[in-house]
Protein backbone atom coordinates (compact mmCIF):
# COMPACT_ATOMS: atom_id res chain seq x y z
CA UNK A 1 0.00 0.00 0.00
CA UNK A 2 1.19 3.53 -0.82
CA UNK A 3 0.17 6.26 1.62
CA UNK A 4 0.10 9.70 0.04
CA UNK A 5 1.63 11.72 2.88
CA UNK A 6 0.28 15.30 2.90
CA UNK A 7 3.80 16.73 3.34
CA UNK A 8 6.17 14.08 1.96
CA UNK A 9 4.15 12.69 -0.92
CA UNK A 10 3.70 8.99 -1.70
CA UNK A 11 5.38 6.73 0.89
CA UNK A 12 5.38 2.93 1.27
CA UNK A 13 3.10 1.73 4.10
CA UNK A 14 6.07 -0.26 5.45
CA UNK A 15 7.53 3.02 6.76
CA UNK A 16 4.52 3.39 9.06
CA UNK A 17 3.30 1.85 12.29
CA UNK A 18 -0.42 1.15 12.47
CA UNK A 19 -2.42 2.03 15.57
CA UNK A 20 -6.06 1.54 14.61
CA UNK A 21 -9.37 3.39 14.55
CA UNK A 22 -8.94 7.18 14.40
CA UNK A 23 -11.64 7.57 17.07
CA UNK A 24 -8.79 6.83 19.50
CA UNK A 25 -8.03 10.56 19.16
CA UNK A 26 -11.18 11.18 21.23
CA UNK A 27 -9.84 9.98 24.56
CA UNK A 28 -12.24 10.50 27.50
CA UNK A 29 -11.19 12.93 30.22
CA UNK A 30 -9.16 10.95 32.71
CA UNK A 31 -10.43 12.98 35.67
CA UNK A 32 -14.15 12.78 34.99
CA UNK A 33 -14.99 9.87 32.67
CA UNK A 34 -16.48 6.66 34.08
CA UNK A 35 -14.72 3.29 34.07
CA UNK A 36 -17.25 2.11 31.50
CA UNK A 37 -16.40 5.03 29.21
CA UNK A 38 -12.71 4.17 29.42
CA UNK A 39 -13.46 0.48 28.85
CA UNK A 40 -15.41 1.35 25.71
CA UNK A 41 -12.66 3.70 24.52
CA UNK A 42 -9.83 1.26 25.21
CA UNK A 43 -11.31 -2.04 24.11
CA UNK A 44 -14.35 -1.65 21.85
CA UNK A 45 -14.11 -0.93 18.12
CA UNK A 46 -16.55 -0.27 15.29
CA UNK A 47 -14.30 -2.46 13.11
CA UNK A 48 -16.12 -1.31 9.98
CA UNK A 49 -16.07 -3.12 6.67
CA UNK A 50 -15.65 -0.40 4.07
CA UNK A 51 -14.21 3.11 4.57
CA UNK A 52 -12.26 3.13 7.84
CA UNK A 53 -10.54 6.15 9.40
CA UNK A 54 -7.35 5.00 11.08
CA UNK A 55 -4.13 6.24 12.65
CA UNK A 56 -0.77 5.59 11.04
CA UNK A 57 2.52 6.81 12.53
CA UNK A 58 5.37 7.66 10.13
CA UNK A 59 8.09 6.10 12.26
CA UNK A 60 10.62 5.66 9.45
CA UNK A 61 9.92 9.15 8.15
CA UNK A 62 9.00 12.48 9.67
CA UNK A 63 7.31 10.89 12.74
CA UNK A 64 4.01 12.53 12.04
CA UNK A 65 0.69 10.90 12.91
CA UNK A 66 -1.71 10.60 10.00
CA UNK A 67 -5.42 9.90 9.75
CA UNK A 68 -5.80 7.63 6.73
CA UNK A 69 -9.24 6.83 5.32
CA UNK A 70 -8.91 3.39 3.76
CA UNK A 71 -11.43 0.88 2.45
CA UNK A 72 -10.94 -2.28 4.52
CA UNK A 73 -12.66 -4.38 1.85
CA UNK A 74 -10.25 -3.39 -0.92
CA UNK A 75 -7.26 -1.70 0.82
CA UNK A 76 -7.86 1.37 -1.36
CA UNK A 77 -6.67 4.56 0.35
CA UNK A 78 -9.27 7.29 -0.05
CA UNK A 79 -7.89 10.20 1.97
CA UNK A 80 -4.83 11.11 4.03
CA UNK A 81 -4.75 13.93 6.61
CA UNK A 82 -2.36 15.03 9.32
CA UNK A 83 -3.75 13.79 12.65
CA UNK A 84 -2.85 17.18 14.10
CA UNK A 85 -5.25 18.92 11.72
CA UNK A 86 -7.98 16.36 12.44
CA UNK A 87 -7.61 16.70 16.21
CA UNK A 88 -7.67 20.49 16.04
CA UNK A 89 -10.75 20.42 13.81
CA UNK A 90 -12.38 18.23 16.47
CA UNK A 91 -11.68 20.85 19.12
CA UNK A 92 -8.50 19.52 20.72
CA UNK A 93 -6.04 22.28 21.63
CA UNK A 94 -2.95 20.19 20.83
Amino acid sequence: MIINHPILGPRDAQEFVYLGDASLIQRPDGMTASIEAFHDYTYLRDNSAGPHRELWYHEQGDRSWLVVTRNTLTHEILKVELARDVARAEGRSR
Partner: protein
Amino acid sequence: MRYSGFRILKEALTGHKGWTPAWRDPEPQASYDYVIVGGGGHGLATAYYLAKEFRQARIAVLEKGYLGGGNVGRNTTIIRSNYLLDGNEPFYEFSLKLWEGLEQDFNYNAMVSQRGIINLIHTDAARDAATRRGNAMILNGADAELLNRDQVKAMYPFLNFDDARFPIKGALMQRRGGTVRHDAVAWGYARGADSRGVDLIQNCEVTGMRIENGRILGVETSRGFIGAKKVGVAVAGSSSRVMAHAGMRLPIESHVLQAFVSEGLKPLIDGVMTFGAGHFYVSQSDKGGLVFGGDIDGYNSYAQRGNLPVIEDVIEGGMALMPMLGRARLLRAWGGIMDMSMDGSPIIDRTPVEGLYFNGGWCYGGFKATPASGWCFAHLLARDEPHPTATAYRFDRFLKGLMIDEKGQGATPNLH
Protein backbone atom coordinates in the same frame (compact mmCIF):
# COMPACT_ATOMS: atom_id res chain seq x y z
CA MET B 1 -24.99 -43.77 5.26
CA ARG B 2 -22.22 -45.04 7.49
CA TYR B 3 -18.74 -45.01 5.96
CA SER B 4 -16.53 -48.06 6.46
CA GLY B 5 -14.03 -50.28 4.71
CA PHE B 6 -16.83 -52.75 4.05
CA ARG B 7 -18.88 -50.01 2.38
CA ILE B 8 -16.01 -49.09 0.06
CA LEU B 9 -15.61 -52.74 -0.93
CA LYS B 10 -19.33 -53.12 -1.54
CA GLU B 11 -19.50 -49.95 -3.64
CA ALA B 12 -16.42 -50.95 -5.59
CA LEU B 13 -18.11 -54.23 -6.54
CA THR B 14 -21.42 -52.57 -7.46
CA GLY B 15 -20.16 -49.74 -9.66
CA HIS B 16 -20.23 -47.02 -6.98
CA LYS B 17 -23.97 -46.52 -7.53
CA GLY B 18 -24.88 -46.46 -3.86
CA TRP B 19 -23.10 -43.31 -2.70
CA THR B 20 -25.43 -40.52 -1.62
CA PRO B 21 -24.73 -36.82 -1.00
CA ALA B 22 -23.06 -36.28 2.36
CA TRP B 23 -25.76 -33.83 3.44
CA ARG B 24 -29.15 -32.49 2.34
CA ASP B 25 -29.77 -29.03 0.88
CA PRO B 26 -33.02 -28.11 2.69
CA GLU B 27 -35.22 -25.04 2.37
CA PRO B 28 -35.25 -22.97 5.57
CA GLN B 29 -38.25 -23.52 7.83
CA ALA B 30 -40.16 -20.60 9.36
CA SER B 31 -38.58 -21.09 12.77
CA TYR B 32 -36.17 -23.22 14.78
CA ASP B 33 -35.28 -23.79 18.40
CA TYR B 34 -31.64 -22.96 17.68
CA VAL B 35 -30.18 -20.99 14.80
CA ILE B 36 -26.40 -21.07 14.44
CA VAL B 37 -25.07 -18.25 12.26
CA GLY B 38 -21.95 -19.33 10.40
CA GLY B 39 -21.36 -22.61 8.56
CA GLY B 40 -17.64 -22.84 9.19
CA GLY B 41 -15.80 -25.23 11.47
CA HIS B 42 -17.00 -23.69 14.72
CA GLY B 43 -20.63 -23.25 13.65
CA LEU B 44 -20.90 -26.77 12.24
CA ALA B 45 -19.20 -28.25 15.31
CA THR B 46 -21.63 -26.33 17.51
CA ALA B 47 -24.63 -27.73 15.62
CA TYR B 48 -23.15 -31.23 15.67
CA TYR B 49 -22.52 -31.32 19.42
CA LEU B 50 -25.78 -29.54 20.17
CA ALA B 51 -27.71 -32.24 18.30
CA LYS B 52 -25.58 -35.14 19.48
CA GLU B 53 -24.57 -34.35 23.05
CA PHE B 54 -27.05 -31.86 24.41
CA ARG B 55 -30.58 -32.05 23.06
CA GLN B 56 -32.82 -33.13 20.29
CA ALA B 57 -34.16 -29.89 18.91
CA ARG B 58 -34.90 -28.15 15.67
CA ILE B 59 -31.52 -26.70 14.72
CA ALA B 60 -30.39 -24.76 11.66
CA VAL B 61 -26.99 -23.52 10.53
CA LEU B 62 -27.08 -20.43 8.30
CA GLU B 63 -24.12 -19.89 5.98
CA LYS B 64 -23.78 -16.84 3.72
CA GLY B 65 -21.65 -18.73 1.17
CA TYR B 66 -20.96 -22.46 1.07
CA LEU B 67 -20.12 -24.76 3.99
CA GLY B 68 -16.52 -24.50 5.06
CA GLY B 69 -15.82 -21.71 2.58
CA GLY B 70 -14.26 -19.35 5.11
CA ASN B 71 -11.44 -19.64 7.59
CA VAL B 72 -11.77 -23.39 8.17
CA GLY B 73 -10.39 -23.81 4.65
CA ARG B 74 -7.82 -21.04 4.91
CA ASN B 75 -5.75 -21.99 7.96
CA THR B 76 -2.56 -24.02 8.21
CA THR B 77 -4.28 -27.07 9.79
CA ILE B 78 -2.27 -27.30 13.02
CA ILE B 79 -3.64 -28.78 16.24
CA ARG B 80 -1.90 -28.45 19.62
CA SER B 81 -2.57 -27.66 23.27
CA ASN B 82 0.70 -26.00 24.27
CA TYR B 83 -0.77 -23.08 26.19
CA LEU B 84 0.37 -21.66 29.51
CA LEU B 85 -2.51 -19.96 31.29
CA ASP B 86 -5.25 -21.53 33.40
CA GLY B 87 -8.00 -19.87 31.36
CA ASN B 88 -6.65 -21.42 28.16
CA GLU B 89 -4.81 -24.69 28.68
CA PRO B 90 -7.72 -26.84 29.99
CA PHE B 91 -9.83 -25.66 27.06
CA TYR B 92 -7.22 -26.43 24.41
CA GLU B 93 -6.39 -29.77 26.00
CA PHE B 94 -10.12 -30.62 25.95
CA SER B 95 -10.01 -29.72 22.27
CA LEU B 96 -7.00 -31.93 21.57
CA LYS B 97 -8.70 -34.87 23.31
CA LEU B 98 -11.75 -34.33 21.10
CA TRP B 99 -9.48 -34.27 18.03
CA GLU B 100 -8.07 -37.62 19.08
CA GLY B 101 -11.49 -39.27 19.01
CA LEU B 102 -13.03 -37.15 16.30
CA GLU B 103 -12.90 -39.44 13.27
CA GLN B 104 -14.51 -42.37 15.10
CA ASP B 105 -17.00 -39.99 16.65
CA PHE B 106 -18.30 -38.46 13.44
CA ASN B 107 -17.42 -41.39 11.15
CA TYR B 108 -15.41 -39.35 8.70
CA ASN B 109 -11.75 -39.42 7.71
CA ALA B 110 -10.34 -36.05 8.79
CA MET B 111 -6.74 -37.30 8.48
CA VAL B 112 -5.92 -36.40 12.10
CA SER B 113 -2.16 -36.85 12.22
CA GLN B 114 -0.43 -36.49 15.60
CA ARG B 115 2.97 -35.90 14.10
CA GLY B 116 4.28 -33.71 16.92
CA ILE B 117 4.95 -29.99 17.21
CA ILE B 118 8.15 -28.30 18.38
CA ASN B 119 8.68 -24.69 19.47
CA LEU B 120 12.33 -23.76 18.99
CA ILE B 121 14.42 -22.31 21.86
CA HIS B 122 17.33 -19.91 21.30
CA THR B 123 18.29 -18.58 24.72
CA ASP B 124 18.44 -19.63 28.38
CA ALA B 125 15.50 -17.33 29.12
CA ALA B 126 13.48 -18.95 26.36
CA ARG B 127 14.33 -22.39 27.78
CA ASP B 128 13.09 -21.27 31.21
CA ALA B 129 9.85 -20.01 29.64
CA ALA B 130 9.46 -23.25 27.68
CA THR B 131 10.05 -25.30 30.83
CA ARG B 132 7.40 -23.34 32.65
CA ARG B 133 4.97 -23.72 29.78
CA GLY B 134 5.68 -27.44 29.54
CA ASN B 135 5.06 -27.88 33.26
CA ALA B 136 1.79 -25.96 33.00
CA MET B 137 0.75 -28.24 30.15
CA ILE B 138 1.59 -31.38 32.14
CA LEU B 139 -0.29 -30.05 35.18
CA ASN B 140 -3.35 -29.74 32.96
CA GLY B 141 -3.09 -33.28 31.66
CA ALA B 142 -1.36 -32.50 28.37
CA ASP B 143 1.99 -33.89 27.24
CA ALA B 144 5.16 -31.84 26.96
CA GLU B 145 8.80 -32.63 26.54
CA LEU B 146 11.91 -30.49 26.57
CA LEU B 147 14.35 -31.37 23.80
CA ASN B 148 18.02 -30.44 23.75
CA ARG B 149 19.94 -29.31 20.72
CA ASP B 150 21.06 -32.80 19.75
CA GLN B 151 17.55 -34.16 19.91
CA VAL B 152 16.32 -31.39 17.60
CA LYS B 153 19.30 -32.00 15.32
CA ALA B 154 18.42 -35.68 15.06
CA MET B 155 14.93 -34.73 13.88
CA TYR B 156 15.75 -31.84 11.58
CA PRO B 157 19.48 -31.86 10.71
CA PHE B 158 19.04 -29.28 7.95
CA LEU B 159 18.11 -26.38 10.27
CA ASN B 160 20.45 -23.44 10.70
CA PHE B 161 21.62 -24.42 14.20
CA ASP B 162 24.44 -21.90 14.45
CA ASP B 163 22.65 -18.81 13.23
CA ALA B 164 24.40 -15.80 14.81
CA ARG B 165 21.19 -14.16 16.00
CA PHE B 166 19.01 -17.17 16.87
CA PRO B 167 21.16 -20.29 17.41
CA ILE B 168 18.96 -23.31 18.11
CA LYS B 169 19.46 -24.51 21.70
CA GLY B 170 16.53 -26.91 22.00
CA ALA B 171 12.78 -27.07 21.70
CA LEU B 172 9.56 -27.63 23.60
CA MET B 173 7.80 -30.59 22.05
CA GLN B 174 4.22 -31.76 22.21
CA ARG B 175 4.05 -35.17 20.55
CA ARG B 176 0.25 -35.25 20.54
CA GLY B 177 0.10 -32.08 18.44
CA GLY B 178 -0.04 -32.33 14.68
CA THR B 179 -2.17 -31.54 11.66
CA VAL B 180 -5.66 -32.30 10.39
CA ARG B 181 -7.16 -32.13 6.90
CA HIS B 182 -9.05 -28.89 7.51
CA ASP B 183 -11.80 -29.12 4.87
CA ALA B 184 -12.66 -32.62 6.05
CA VAL B 185 -13.30 -31.21 9.52
CA ALA B 186 -16.04 -28.97 8.13
CA TRP B 187 -17.41 -31.77 5.94
CA GLY B 188 -17.35 -34.32 8.76
CA TYR B 189 -19.18 -32.02 11.17
CA ALA B 190 -21.63 -31.01 8.44
CA ARG B 191 -22.43 -34.62 7.60
CA GLY B 192 -22.69 -35.56 11.27
CA ALA B 193 -25.01 -32.63 12.02
CA ASP B 194 -27.16 -33.24 8.93
CA SER B 195 -27.62 -36.90 9.77
CA ARG B 196 -28.94 -35.84 13.18
CA GLY B 197 -31.56 -33.60 11.59
CA VAL B 198 -29.79 -30.24 11.54
CA ASP B 199 -30.77 -28.10 8.54
CA LEU B 200 -27.63 -26.74 6.86
CA ILE B 201 -28.80 -23.72 4.88
CA GLN B 202 -26.26 -22.30 2.45
CA ASN B 203 -26.33 -19.03 0.48
CA CYS B 204 -28.26 -17.56 3.38
CA GLU B 205 -26.71 -14.37 4.70
CA VAL B 206 -27.94 -12.83 7.93
CA THR B 207 -28.90 -9.23 7.13
CA GLY B 208 -30.53 -8.25 10.42
CA MET B 209 -31.75 -9.40 13.80
CA ARG B 210 -35.29 -9.05 15.11
CA ILE B 211 -35.02 -8.03 18.75
CA GLU B 212 -38.00 -7.00 20.89
CA ASN B 213 -37.92 -6.00 24.55
CA GLY B 214 -34.32 -7.14 24.81
CA ARG B 215 -35.06 -10.62 23.48
CA ILE B 216 -34.11 -12.11 20.12
CA LEU B 217 -37.00 -13.40 18.00
CA GLY B 218 -35.05 -14.47 14.97
CA VAL B 219 -32.85 -13.29 12.13
CA GLU B 220 -33.55 -11.54 8.85
CA THR B 221 -31.71 -13.29 6.05
CA SER B 222 -31.27 -13.10 2.30
CA ARG B 223 -33.77 -15.99 2.21
CA GLY B 224 -36.37 -14.33 4.46
CA PHE B 225 -37.06 -14.12 8.17
CA ILE B 226 -36.16 -17.18 10.24
CA GLY B 227 -37.52 -17.30 13.78
CA ALA B 228 -35.44 -18.75 16.60
CA LYS B 229 -35.67 -19.22 20.34
CA LYS B 230 -31.92 -18.95 20.60
CA VAL B 231 -29.34 -17.63 18.14
CA GLY B 232 -25.65 -18.49 18.34
CA VAL B 233 -23.23 -16.45 16.23
CA ALA B 234 -19.96 -18.18 15.21
CA VAL B 235 -18.64 -16.11 12.33
CA ALA B 236 -15.07 -15.25 13.39
CA GLY B 237 -13.58 -12.77 10.94
CA SER B 238 -16.96 -11.11 10.41
CA SER B 239 -18.05 -10.98 14.05
CA SER B 240 -18.26 -7.18 14.24
CA ARG B 241 -20.39 -7.02 11.10
CA VAL B 242 -22.92 -9.60 12.30
CA MET B 243 -23.09 -8.43 15.91
CA ALA B 244 -23.65 -4.85 14.71
CA HIS B 245 -27.13 -6.09 13.75
CA ALA B 246 -27.73 -6.43 17.50
CA GLY B 247 -26.26 -2.99 18.17
CA MET B 248 -23.11 -4.42 19.76
CA ARG B 249 -19.55 -3.15 19.45
CA LEU B 250 -16.96 -5.85 20.15
CA PRO B 251 -13.43 -5.84 21.60
CA ILE B 252 -12.28 -7.11 18.22
CA GLU B 253 -10.49 -5.83 15.11
CA SER B 254 -10.54 -7.81 11.86
CA HIS B 255 -7.06 -8.39 10.46
CA VAL B 256 -5.70 -10.33 7.51
CA LEU B 257 -3.33 -13.26 8.14
CA GLN B 258 -1.50 -14.75 5.19
CA ALA B 259 -0.44 -18.35 4.67
CA PHE B 260 1.71 -20.02 2.05
CA VAL B 261 2.41 -23.35 0.41
CA SER B 262 5.45 -24.35 -1.63
CA GLU B 263 5.52 -26.69 -4.60
CA GLY B 264 5.30 -30.37 -3.67
CA LEU B 265 8.56 -31.75 -2.28
CA LYS B 266 9.74 -35.15 -1.10
CA PRO B 267 9.21 -35.90 2.62
CA LEU B 268 11.29 -33.42 4.58
CA ILE B 269 9.49 -32.17 7.67
CA ASP B 270 7.53 -34.88 9.42
CA GLY B 271 6.15 -32.71 12.21
CA VAL B 272 5.22 -29.10 12.84
CA MET B 273 7.92 -26.56 13.67
CA THR B 274 7.54 -23.04 15.05
CA PHE B 275 10.30 -20.44 14.97
CA GLY B 276 8.64 -17.82 17.14
CA ALA B 277 11.68 -15.55 17.29
CA GLY B 278 11.69 -15.39 13.50
CA HIS B 279 7.90 -15.12 13.15
CA PHE B 280 7.70 -18.30 11.08
CA TYR B 281 6.19 -21.76 11.38
CA VAL B 282 6.08 -24.66 8.96
CA SER B 283 4.78 -28.15 8.39
CA GLN B 284 4.57 -30.37 5.33
CA SER B 285 1.30 -31.49 3.87
CA ASP B 286 0.67 -35.08 2.82
CA LYS B 287 0.84 -33.86 -0.79
CA GLY B 288 4.37 -32.61 -0.12
CA GLY B 289 3.88 -28.86 -0.04
CA LEU B 290 5.57 -26.94 2.77
CA VAL B 291 2.74 -25.11 4.52
CA PHE B 292 3.95 -22.04 6.38
CA GLY B 293 3.02 -18.68 7.76
CA GLY B 294 3.99 -15.87 10.10
CA ASP B 295 2.53 -12.62 11.33
CA ILE B 296 -0.69 -10.83 10.54
CA ASP B 297 -0.33 -7.90 8.14
CA GLY B 298 -1.16 -5.55 11.00
CA TYR B 299 -3.96 -3.31 9.73
CA ASN B 300 -7.74 -3.69 9.74
CA SER B 301 -8.85 -5.67 6.72
CA TYR B 302 -11.77 -7.68 5.39
CA ALA B 303 -10.07 -8.27 2.03
CA GLN B 304 -8.98 -11.94 2.45
CA ARG B 305 -5.67 -11.05 0.85
CA GLY B 306 -2.57 -9.39 2.21
CA ASN B 307 0.34 -7.38 0.90
CA LEU B 308 3.86 -8.18 -0.25
CA PRO B 309 5.91 -6.82 2.69
CA VAL B 310 4.57 -9.54 5.01
CA ILE B 311 5.22 -12.22 2.40
CA GLU B 312 8.82 -11.04 2.29
CA ASP B 313 9.02 -10.95 6.08
CA VAL B 314 7.68 -14.49 6.51
CA ILE B 315 9.97 -15.94 3.88
CA GLU B 316 12.97 -14.15 5.41
CA GLY B 317 12.10 -15.94 8.65
CA GLY B 318 11.93 -19.23 6.80
CA MET B 319 15.27 -18.62 5.07
CA ALA B 320 16.90 -17.81 8.41
CA LEU B 321 15.68 -21.10 9.87
CA MET B 322 16.20 -23.41 6.89
CA PRO B 323 18.28 -21.84 4.13
CA MET B 324 17.42 -24.72 1.77
CA LEU B 325 13.97 -23.13 1.49
CA GLY B 326 15.47 -20.77 -1.07
CA ARG B 327 15.57 -23.63 -3.56
CA ALA B 328 11.84 -24.25 -3.36
CA ARG B 329 9.28 -22.32 -5.31
CA LEU B 330 6.25 -20.73 -3.73
CA LEU B 331 3.07 -22.26 -5.10
CA ARG B 332 0.36 -20.18 -3.47
CA ALA B 333 -0.21 -17.43 -0.93
CA TRP B 334 -3.60 -16.55 0.48
CA GLY B 335 -5.19 -14.57 3.28
CA GLY B 336 -7.89 -15.13 5.87
CA ILE B 337 -9.67 -12.63 8.09
CA MET B 338 -8.99 -12.99 11.82
CA ASP B 339 -11.06 -11.74 14.72
CA MET B 340 -8.17 -10.16 16.65
CA SER B 341 -9.46 -9.73 20.19
CA MET B 342 -7.88 -7.14 22.43
CA ASP B 343 -6.05 -9.65 24.65
CA GLY B 344 -5.46 -12.34 22.06
CA SER B 345 -7.96 -14.79 23.55
CA PRO B 346 -11.42 -15.85 22.38
CA ILE B 347 -14.93 -15.09 23.62
CA ILE B 348 -17.70 -17.68 24.16
CA ASP B 349 -20.42 -15.87 26.07
CA ARG B 350 -23.97 -14.62 26.38
CA THR B 351 -24.77 -11.12 25.14
CA PRO B 352 -26.95 -8.38 26.65
CA VAL B 353 -29.70 -9.57 24.26
CA GLU B 354 -31.60 -12.47 25.77
CA GLY B 355 -31.33 -15.56 23.59
CA LEU B 356 -28.36 -14.23 21.59
CA TYR B 357 -24.98 -15.90 22.14
CA PHE B 358 -21.56 -15.15 20.74
CA ASN B 359 -18.51 -17.21 19.79
CA GLY B 360 -15.54 -15.41 18.26
CA GLY B 361 -12.32 -13.52 18.82
CA TRP B 362 -10.23 -16.56 17.88
CA CYS B 363 -7.32 -14.47 16.60
CA TYR B 364 -5.06 -16.79 14.59
CA GLY B 365 -5.75 -19.84 16.77
CA GLY B 366 -9.26 -20.87 15.83
CA PHE B 367 -8.66 -24.07 13.91
CA LYS B 368 -7.18 -26.15 16.71
CA ALA B 369 -10.03 -24.99 18.95
CA THR B 370 -12.79 -26.15 16.58
CA PRO B 371 -14.06 -29.24 18.49
CA ALA B 372 -13.93 -27.68 21.97
CA SER B 373 -15.32 -24.39 20.67
CA GLY B 374 -18.30 -26.24 19.20
CA TRP B 375 -18.77 -28.35 22.31
CA CYS B 376 -18.51 -25.41 24.73
CA PHE B 377 -20.75 -23.18 22.62
CA ALA B 378 -23.35 -25.96 22.40
CA HIS B 379 -23.09 -26.35 26.19
CA LEU B 380 -23.70 -22.63 26.66
CA LEU B 381 -26.63 -22.59 24.22
CA ALA B 382 -28.29 -25.68 25.70
CA ARG B 383 -27.72 -25.11 29.41
CA ASP B 384 -27.24 -21.34 29.63
CA GLU B 385 -24.05 -21.78 31.60
CA PRO B 386 -20.46 -21.93 30.36
CA HIS B 387 -18.65 -25.23 30.00
CA PRO B 388 -16.13 -25.67 32.85
CA THR B 389 -13.17 -25.28 30.46
CA ALA B 390 -14.51 -22.07 28.89
CA THR B 391 -15.48 -19.97 31.92
CA ALA B 392 -12.76 -17.37 31.31
CA TYR B 393 -13.88 -16.48 27.77
CA ARG B 394 -16.24 -13.72 28.86
CA PHE B 395 -17.02 -10.33 27.39
CA ASP B 396 -16.67 -8.59 30.76
CA ARG B 397 -13.08 -9.70 31.35
CA PHE B 398 -11.89 -6.44 29.82
CA LEU B 399 -14.00 -4.35 32.18
CA LYS B 400 -12.98 -6.42 35.19
CA GLY B 401 -9.28 -6.60 34.38
CA LEU B 402 -9.34 -10.37 33.89
CA MET B 403 -7.69 -10.43 30.49
CA ILE B 404 -6.09 -13.68 29.34
CA ASP B 405 -2.68 -12.52 28.21
CA GLU B 406 -1.24 -15.72 26.82
CA LYS B 407 1.71 -13.87 25.30
CA GLY B 408 2.62 -12.25 28.61
CA GLN B 409 2.84 -8.83 27.00
CA GLY B 410 0.29 -7.06 29.16
CA ALA B 411 -3.21 -5.95 28.41
CA THR B 412 -2.37 -3.49 25.68
CA PRO B 413 -5.13 -3.12 23.15
CA ASN B 414 -2.41 -2.18 20.70
CA LEU B 415 -0.86 -5.61 21.10
CA HIS B 416 -1.82 -6.56 17.59
